[in-house]
């Protein structure tokens, strides 16, 4: 713990010193706007920011990303409260009570409550992260190549388990990501794989155009196909109500603590992400409240529960991302790509040698959450008007920014074409229930997975049986098998029985 804390001052200087504070502000403002605009969200913001971070120091880039990540959830809650449209999917439960509050003329109170719950929830999550880092560092010491390979596989299985409706498509997306990572020159064997005779693919498929395509251009395609605007009437509010809203968090402190703890825990589990944290916290809050019958009609406690969990999950999601390189959410998957782009290797190396980066992200998220709460409550009314902008205006601007971003990285024009192709792939993946996050995880960690596989085979005297001989890898295999069985056999069977039972009752 002492070693972790010793790196804190350096991290603080990295976050607030020099140009970092400017990048933090840029990230926060962009995150707030992308959060408010339904359909965009944190992943698109990060995908668009990555190419522009190329010339920055790694800590400056991470501070900017943290700024965007921290601001998005609160931005999303503004549209959820004022328009009944969640700015990002993890704000969905905020609509349940936030919008009815706005309809009753309590929009300011709801926004104030959301701002305070968001900021304090994030602080709670980051505090838990800090407590867990030393513990995870100790666990990581006992990890070898077989364990790392299985951790990657664990991520590839758990993410589709919790993020998509179609588990098989989700698993396939992970495998697809792994195969895409194999394209290009293989340094170990000296062979060029799957380049189809083109020189462009010699270095493999580049990560940035893939990220930009899958997340930013795919959203642009979606905006054009959907058309229209998403904005109904914007409710007005007074600043005094906002202060009243802030006080609500302290009024419902037990709800706040329970929801924040739930959010952090859910964030730690790879792939479960914000939607589940947000809804789960809202349901738990509703069930444990003496006023449960009023939930869904404008109960402020519902906003406290939903938003505290939504923001605390970021602290939890950072843990598997930083420690194992397994992203806890979609944003973390893109962040993982940014890590690799800036020469940082998530995992033991990052937690051992680059604690300053870990701290820069933690402080970045912390200040961003506080900043966005201050900026957001003052500007919520105006920000909500942004949603009146039509999709067919936003989409071509996103396409231009995406193409330029893809090109700017290496001055390679074909990177733009890759971004466009993956834009359509990403759009179709969303439409047909293939998890984009799993694809990115497979793609980003493909090289590490193959390297770990080769190293495992090399150190093994018993071939593939090495995975069964080591206690940690054996445990991971057992959990993986149980999860797959649960998902493919037990749960569908239970659902079938429930359905049959309901049909019998109807008859």
């Amino acid at each position: 713990m002492a070693e972790v804390l010793a790196a804190a001052p350096e991290g603080l200087i990295s976050t607030l010193g020099g140009m970092s504070i400017v990048y933090l502000l840029i990230g926060t403002c962009l995150g707030l706007i992308f959060g408010v605009l339904p359909g965009l969200g944190g992943v698109t913001a990060l995908a668009l920011l990555i190419p522009f971070s190329w010339g920055m120091q790694p800590h400056q880039a991470m501070v900017m990303f943290a700024g965007a990540m921290g601001a998005v959830p609160f931005g999303g809650s503004i549209s959820a409260i004022l328009l009944n449209v969640p700015g990002t999917p993890p704000n969905i439960a905020t609509c349940f009570d936030g919008y009815p509050m706005a309809q009753k003329g309590r929009a300011g109170e709801a926004i104030g409550t959301s701002a305070a719950s968001s900021a304090l929830g994030a602080i709670f999550g980051l505090f838990i992260l800090l407590l867990l880092i030393p513990l995870v560092r100790a666990i990581l010491m006992s990890f070898g190549p077989p364990e790392f390979l299985l951790m990657i596989m664990f991520g590839l299985v758990t993410i589709p388990l919790f993020t998509g409706r179609n588990f098989i498509n989700g698993l396939f997306a992970g495998a697809l990501g792994l195969t895409l990572a194999l394209v290009g020159f293989d340094g170990t064997s000296g062979v060029i794989r799957y380049n189809f005779g083109t020189l462009y693919l010699y270095d493999g498929i580049q990560m940035i155009p893939v990220l930009i395509g899958l997340f930013a251009i795919a959203e642009a395609v979606n905006l054009v196909t959907r058309g229209g605007t998403v904005a109904p009437v914007v409710s007005k509010h007074k600043f005094a109500d906002v202060i009243k809203g802030v006080k609500n968090v302290f009024r419902y402190k037990l709800t706040f603590i329970r929801s924040s703890a739930l959010g952090t825990l859910i964030g730690i589990i790879p792939g479960m992400g914000g939607v589940i944290a947000n809804i789960f916290a809202w349901v738990t809050t509703a069930q444990s409240s003496p006023r449960k019958e009023y939930f869904g009609t404008g109960e402020v406690e519902g906003v406290v529960g939903a938003e505290a969990a939504n923001n605390s999950k970021d602290g939890g999601a950072l843990l598997p991302t930083l420690a194992f390189g397994i992203p806890g959410s979609a944003e973390m998957a893109v962040l993982l790509g940014a890590f690799i782009l800036h020469g940082l290797c998530p995992g033991p190396q990052l937690l051992r040698e680059r604690l300053d980066i870990t701290w820069a992200i933690i402080f970045g998220l912390l200040f961003s959450n506080i900043l966005v709460a201050l900026i957001g409550v003052g500007t919520a009314q105006h920000l909500a008007k942004l949603t009146a902008v039509k999709g067919n205006i936003v989409a071509p601007i996103i396409v231009c920014a995406s193409l330029m971003g893809a090109f700017a990285m290496r001055n390679a024009p074909l990177d733009m074409l890759v971004a466009v192709i993956f834009g359509f792939v990403g759009y179709l993946m969303v439409r047909y229930d293939f998890s984009r996050v799993t694809l990115i995880l497979g793609f980003v960690l493909g090289h590490l997975a193959e390297m770990s596989f080769r190293q495992s085979m090399k150190i093994s005297d018993v071939g593939a049986l090495i995975f069964l001989q080591r206690p940690i890898s054996l445990t991971l295999i057992i959990i993986l098998v149980l999860l797959v069985l649960l998902m493919l056999v037990i749960l569908p069977m239970r659902e079938r029985k429930t359905r049959q039972g309901k049909e019998k009752q109807r008859v």
Binding site: F52, G55, A80, N84, V85, P86, I92, C95, F96, F162, T163, R165, N166, F167, I168, N169, L171, F172, A175, L176, T179, L182, S189, V191, R193, Y194, A220, V221, V224, T225, R226, G227, V230, F280, W282, V283, A286, N392, I393, P396, I397, V399, C400, A401, L403, M404, F407, N411, P413, M416, V420, G423, F424, L428, R431, F453, R454, M487, L491, E495
Partner: protein, 174 residues
């Protein structure tokens, strides 16, 4: 429910997409045999594991009953969502239907943008693409198109030329 054939499965965009993914996996497996053992093993294992998954997906597109069987609802895995289902319906955006033609039209716009960027450099390409998209696809007024294009071009110039030192006009990216 016994599986029955979807009579127009080939018209489903999802079916075509799954077939493309299937072809990619077959290619991964087939081409891996050209590599030495060390470079072949991992892609071969991944390809073999992925193949049945995409076959099941394709079968799900052809046979309606199979599609129902392979779908799992994530909400029910963790907790009873029936209480929030009604509320979620009011807040979740609906999925719109999309035809091949619409998607093709968007694809042509975006590929057109790429061609412009490729041949003209970012500043002329941004101006031409944005203006023509807003005018001819989105059908905004001349004034709106000019204002949005002008503002976007200005921001692009500030970021790319001033901040990233990218030349605004670069014929053929030579």
């Amino acid at each position: 429910m016994s599986p029955r054939i979807n009579p127009k499965f080939w018209q489903d965009l999802g079916f075509c997409f799954s077939v493309v993914l299937f072809i990619w996996i077959v290619l991964v497996i087939a081409l891996s045999f050209d590599f030495p053992f060390r470079a072949r093993l991992f892609p071969l294992i991944i390809g073999i594991l992925a193949l049945p998954l995409i076959i099941v997906t394709i079968l799900g597109k052809i046979f309606v009953g199979v599609a129902d069987k392979i779908k799992t609802v994530r909400g029910s895995v963790l907790f009873d969502t029936s209480a929030v289902q009604k509320l979620m319906k009011t807040a979740e955006p609906e999925k719109t239907e999309i035809s091949y033609l619409t998607l093709l039209k968007i694809a042509l716009w975006f590929i057109g943008a790429f061609v412009l960027y490729y041949f003209l450099g970012y500043l002329p390409a941004t101006i031409i693409f944005l203006f023509s998209f807003l005018k001819f696809d989105a059908r905004y007024s001349w004034k709106t198109c000019t204002a949005i294009t002008g503002a976007s071009a200005l921001v692009a110039w500030a970021i790319f030329t001033v901040f990233l030192n990218l030349p605004p006009i670069q014929w053929f990216f030579s």
